[in-house]
Symmetry: C2
Subunit: 588 residues, 2 copies
C-alpha cells in the first residue's frame, strides 16, 4: 500500500494549536492526525485513523487469541438498566443524557456493565455455559468537566471493554489472569514503556484490580514503585505501611495543656518545643494527630460528617479519599457554617474527645493506619487554645475504622516492609483489569443453575483498554523534540520515502522503490510532492514513521540513504539491496 | 478460524419475537444475530457482527480501490455547523439533540455533510488538491418516528458515507461515475438481487441521483421499471410522460355549466355523461382537472397555500409530493378552516379562475405535466354547483409551474416514450449516489483558488451505503421458509459442520475436518454440542451458512454429506477428498 503525500488528505501545520496543553496533542494536530471539533471531540484524519486501527487490531487479535468473543452494543442506551444499578443517578453530570421524540430517557454509554450483564442473563442459564468472555470495541461518551490534552481525555473516545463471567471465585481468578496475560502481550506489542500497578478496587465493590500505565510526565495518574522489590501501585491504591503496635505500659497519663494560639500544626509544634520541650528530641509535626473534618454527600442523597485523624506531617490526599469513598460521593472540608452547626467541634483544636467513642459531635471518625495501638499523640483537647499530650491510641481513644488517605511521598517505606522506599512517577492509564465480583449480577439478577440445580449469582471481571487514548499515550511516551516517533507496530506506515530534487530519475527510482516495497507487503508513505527537501524532511520527522529513506543526491552513486527516525542513524544502501534491506529492517 | 457452537455466544430461539414485523427481523433475532435494546436500537451478537463486518470490509475494499481515503468524524457533533446550513432546524424531531454540562447544544449526527465540507475547507485551498474523495464508516443516529423491522430502519445504524470534491461539473461527473462503478462492484460482491433506479434529486438542490435497491416485498421504497427499455426509477423520481401539445384552433370557447351536487370526480363524470353526453366517447375521470389545495409550512417557518392541478383520474402521491417539496417541508390538505379563510375557493368546484393568472385566492398553482398546451379540460368554475367545459390549457389558463406528483401506476407509459410500460415493485434502499452540487460549499464557504488565482466554490457529490441495513436487506432478499440463507461473501462462516450421534469417532472426524478447513483459511462453524441431530440440523438451517457438512452415519462408509443450504442438494464426499472438495465449493 502506498500513501502518496501529493494526494494524501493531510496538511502539516507549522504553528502549534492554541489549545494544546501537552506535546502529543500539539504534534498530533500539527502532523495532521486529528482535528478538534468541540472540547474533547475530535476527527480522526487518515493518518490518525491508521494508527487507531492498528492499535484496535492488536487488541482484537490478542482478545480473540484467548477465546474472547466480540459483539457490539449500541452507544445510545435506554435509561432503565442504569436505573436498576443506580448509575443513572450516580453518574451525575458526567454522562450525556437525552430524550427521544416521545420523551423517553436515554444516555450515551460511558461503560456497559449493565448491557453485558443483561445480555448474558438473556442468553445463558447454566454453569455449563461458563466461563464466558465477551468484548466490544466501541465509541464511549463521558461529559468530562475538563476534557484534556486532545484525545488523552476526550468526551467521545474508543474503548475495548471485556467482561468475564464465572460461576465462582476460582473461575474469576483464572479469567482475570488470562486477561492480564493478554493485556501484557498487547502492551508489549504496542512497543512503548509501560508499568503495571495495583489499583484501587474497594470503591466499586470488587477485589483485585491493576492498571496498565504509560510512563509520561504529563500523565494524570501518579504511581509509586519500590526501589527494592516489584511493588508498584497507583498512588490512590498505595497501602501505607502501618508500624507494629507499641507497648505503652510506662506511658504517662494523658494530660490537657494550655496551648493558646496554636490552631495549626506549625504553631502547635513551635509552642510545644518552647513550652514543653522534650529531652530526647524536639517535637515535630509527626508527633501530632490532625483531625480533618469533611462534609460528605452520598449518591443516594444522604449526607454525613466524616473526621479523619492523620499524623500532623501528612495531608489528606483528595484523590485517594475520592477513590476510597467511591464513585458519585462528593465531599468538601468543613466550612464556617458546618462548624457553627456543630459547636462541640473546636475548630483548630478538635480531638478524639469530641470524635471518639461517645460521639458527642455525631461525626464518623476514621484513623490513618499509622495510628496503631500504643502510639502516643498530641492532639486537640476540644477546647480552643488547648491540646492533650501523651494521648495513647487504643488506651485513650479509638476511631470507627481505618482509612488510608494520607498523601504518599517519595521515600515512604514500601508496604512489603522489605526496607525498600517508594519513588513516585506519573503515567497515563491505558488499561485496567478488575475483579468486579457480583455487584452488577446482583443488581440485575444474573444467576445460573449450578451443578446441583441451584441458582447461583455469577461473578464478573471487567477489562478495559482505551485505543484512542492509547494513540495519544504512545505518542506522548515516544515523541522527541522534532516530532512524533512511532513504535513500528502502530506507525501509520512502515517506511517514509522522500524524493528530493527535480531530477526525473529520482522520482522514477522513488516510485519504483515504493512499488517494490508495497509488493512485498510493506505500507509505504511516499513524498512525491514538488516541495523543497527541507519541507519534506521536516514533515517526515514530524509525522514520525520509523524508517525514512531519502532518494536523491546519492542516486548517482547508486545508493539510497536509510535513516532511523529515533536514533537518527543514517546508512547508505545500494539501490539493488534496498528492498531486501528495508524489508529486513521493518520485519526486524 | 473455528466457531464452536458449544462455546459460541449464541442461542437460537424457537419462538418469533413479538415485535418482529418482517421475516428478516424475525430470523435475525431467532438465529441469534441481533438483540433489541430499545425501539430501533440493537445489539450485534457475534454472528451478526461477523456479517456486518464482512459487509463493511467489502465496502471499504472497493472504496480504497478507487482511491477514496477513510477518516472518522465524531458522532457527537456541535450545533454550530448545522445552524449554518439551517439543518438544526430543518431536521425537526428526527434528530437526537442534547446539551452538555455547560448547556452547549449538540446533536448525534444523522449525516455529516457539514463536517466533510468543513474539514476540506480546513485543510485544502487550491484546485491542485482536487478531486478529493473521502469517506467514513460510522454509527449514525435518527430519531425515526416509526423505527421499523429491526435493523432495517434503526435509530442507531452504521453508514458508509463518502463525499467527492471537485472544481467543476465535469469533475463531479467523473467522481460520480467512479463511485457509481464502485457501488456496482460492491453490490455485485454482496451477492444478492438489486436494482439501480433513478432517484429524486431536486429537493436537495443537486442534479443526478440514483439509488441501489435490494428487491424485497417488505421494502419501503416503490420503484418502477420499463418492460421494454432499461428505465428504472424510484416512484418518487418517475418523470411522467407528458403528451405532445395539441392543436386547439377548432376548440370551442370555454363555457360554464350548471353541475349541481358534483363535488367529487365520480359525481361530476356521471353528471357529464347524463347531461352533456359526448358523441365519440363517454366522459371519464381523465377528462377532468382536479385542483387539490394544500397548506404548506417551510422549514424557515413561512407558510403558503399550494394548489396542484392533476387529471381527475389521478391522486396526489404524498411521498412524491414530499420528495419534491424537500426535507423539512410539512404539508396537509386544506381543511374546513383553511377554506373558510379563503372564500374565493369554492370547495369541490375550484378552478383556474381562482387559482390562475390574477390569483384572486392568493394561492400558488402548479400543474401536472400532462396538462400541456392545447389539452381540453372540465374543471371547477369557482362557484358551487358549476364547472367549466372545454377549458384549454395555454389558451384559457396556465399555472405558476409544473409539479410531477400524481401517483404512478402499473401500465403507465415509460418516460422514454418507447412504447414500454412501467411495472412497479418494492425494494429496500441500500445505497445512494448523488450529485450534491454546491449547496453545502455555498453555505459553509468552501472555496479554493482556481488556475487563475480566482476563488471558486467547490462542487460535491455524496455517496452512501448502510452496512447495518444491508445485513437486514440481504437477509430479507435471500432467506427462505426454513431460515436465513446468506450469500457466500457475507455469511458468518464458510462451512457449517454438524457432528451427529454419540460416536467418539464422529466427533474426532468432525474436529479434524474443522481443523483442516481452518488451516486452509476457511471460517468453520462446528456444531460440537451434545444435542440431537434434529436440533442441530434445524439450527444449521436457521443460521444459514451456505454449505452444511454432516459428519455422522456416513462415516462408516467413509463419506461426509455435503449439503448446499440454498438448493438443498446433497452429495456424499469421500472423507479423503472432503477438504479439497469443500475448499473448491467455497472458493468457487
Amino acid at each position: 500500500m502506498i500513501l502518496r503525500l501529493s494526494s494524501l488528505f493531510v496538511r502539516t501545520l507549522r504553528e502549534d494549536p492554541a489549545d494544546a496543553e501537552v506535546p502529543s496533542h500539539r504534534l498530533l494536530v500539527r502532523a495532521g492526525y486529528i482535528r478538534r471539533n468541540a472540547p474533547g471531540i475530535y476527527t480522526w484524519l487518515p493518518l490518525g485513523l491508521r494508527v487507531l486501527r492498528k492499535i484496535e487490531n492488536i487488541v482484537r487479535d490478542e482478545m480473540d487469541a484467548i477465546g474472547a468473543q466480540e459483539l457490539l452494543f449500541p452507544a445510545l442506551l435506554p435509561r432503565e438498566p442504569y436505573d436498576a444499578t443506580n448509575r443513572w443517578t450516580e453518574y451525575g453530570d458526567s454522562i450525556f443524557r437525552l430524550q427521544d421524540r416521545k420523551g423517553a430517557d436515554y444516555l450515551l454509554g460511558p461503560t456497559h456493565e449493565e448491557m453485558f450483564t443483561l445480555v448474558v442473563k438473556d442468553l445463558y442459564s447454566s454453569y455449563k455455559d461458563l466461563p464466558l468472555w465477551i468484548y466490544q470495541i466501541q465509541n464511549k461518551y463521558r461529559d468530562e468537566a475538563r476534557p484534556r490534552a486532545g484525545i488523552l481525555r476526550g468526551r467521545e473516545f474508543v474503548m475495548k471493554d471485556s467482561y468475564s463471567f464465572d460461576i465462582d471465585d476460582a473461575g474469576l481468578d483464572r479469567s482475570y489472569q488470562a486477561h492480564r496475560d493478554a493485556y501484557t502481550r498487547i502492551f508489549d506489542r504496542l512497543g512503548f514503556d509501560y508499568v503495571i500497578v495495583k489499583a484501587e478496587a474497594g470503591a466499586m465493590g470488587g477485589s483485585k484490580s491493576e492498571e496498565f500505565l504509560a510512563k509520561a510526565a504529563v500523565g494524570e495518574d501518579t504511581y509509586v514503585r519500590c526501589n527494592r522489590c516489584d511493588y508498584a501501585a497507583n498512588v490512590e491504591a498505595v497501602d501505607s505501611l502501618a508500624p507494629s503496635p507499641v507497648a505503652y505500659d510506662d506511658a504517662p497519663a494523658a494530660h490537657a495543656e494550655q496551648t493558646p494560639d496554636t490552631p495549626t500544626i506549625d504553631t502547635l509544634v513551635d509552642h510545644l518545643n518552647e513550652r514543653y520541650p522534650r529531652d530526647d528530641r524536639p517535637w515535630h509535626a509527626g508527633d501530632t494527630l490532625k483531625n480533618v473534618v469533611f462534609s460528605v454527600r452520598h449518591p443516594d442523597g444522604t449526607t454525613e460528617a466524616l473526621a479523619i485523624g492523620i499524623p500532623g506531617d501528612r495531608e489528606v490526599d483528595a484523590k485517594r479519599l475520592e477513590s476510597k469513598l467511591g464513585e458519585g460521593v462528593v465531599f468538601e472540608p468543613f466550612g464556617e457554617e458546618d462548624f457553627a452547626a456543630r459547636p462541640t467541634l473546636a475548630k483548630g483544636y478538635i480531638g478524639p474527645g469530641a470524635l471518639g467513642e461517645k460521639k458527642p459531635a455525631g461525626v464518623r471518625f476514621l484513623l490513618d493506619p499509622r495510628v496503631v495501638e500504643g502510639t502516643r499523640w498530641v492532639t486537640g483537647a476540644d477546647v480552643t487554645g488547648s491540646h492533650v499530650l501523651d494521648l495513647v491510641a487504643g488506651r485513650d481513644f479509638s476511631g470507627d475504622g481505618i482509612i488510608d488517605v494520607a498523601d504518599v511521598r517519595d521515600g515512604d517505606p514500601c508496604p512489603n516492609n522489605d526496607g525498600g522506599l517508594l519513588e513516585s512517577a506519573r503515567g497515563i492509564e491505558m488499561g485496567h483489569v478488575f475483579q468486579l465480583g457480583r455487584k452488577y449480577a446482583d443488581a440485575l439478577g444474573l444467576q445460573v443453575l449450578d451443578e446441583n440445580g441451584k441458582l447461583v449469582t455469577v461473578t464478573m471481571g471487567s477489562y478495559g483498554i482505551g485505543p484512542s487514548r492509547a494513540v495519544a499515550a504512545i505518542a506522548e511516551n515516544t515523541l522527541d523534540e522534532i516530532g512524533l516517533c512511532w513504535p513500528r507496530e502502530v506507525a501509520p506506515a512502515d517506511v517514509h520515502i522522500v524524493a528530493t530534487g527535480k531530477d526525473e530519475a529520482v522520482f522514477e527510482a522513488a516510485e519504483q522503490l515504493s512499488q517494490d516495497l508495497s509488493a512485498r507487503g510493506l505500507d509505504v508513505m511516499y513524498d512525491d510532492r514538488k516541495a523543497s527537501p527541507g519541507v519534506k524532511f521536516k514533515d517526515a520527522e514530524l509525522i514520525g514513521v520509523p524508517t525514512i529513506v531519502t532518494v536523491g543526491r546519492g542516486l548517482v552513486d547508486g545508493v539510497f540513504e536509510v535513516k532511523d527516525r529515533r536514533s537518527g542513524e543514517r546508512t547508505d544502501v545500494p539501490v539493488g539491496d534496498a528492498v531486501d534491506h528495508l524489508v529486513a529492517v521493518v520485519r526486524g
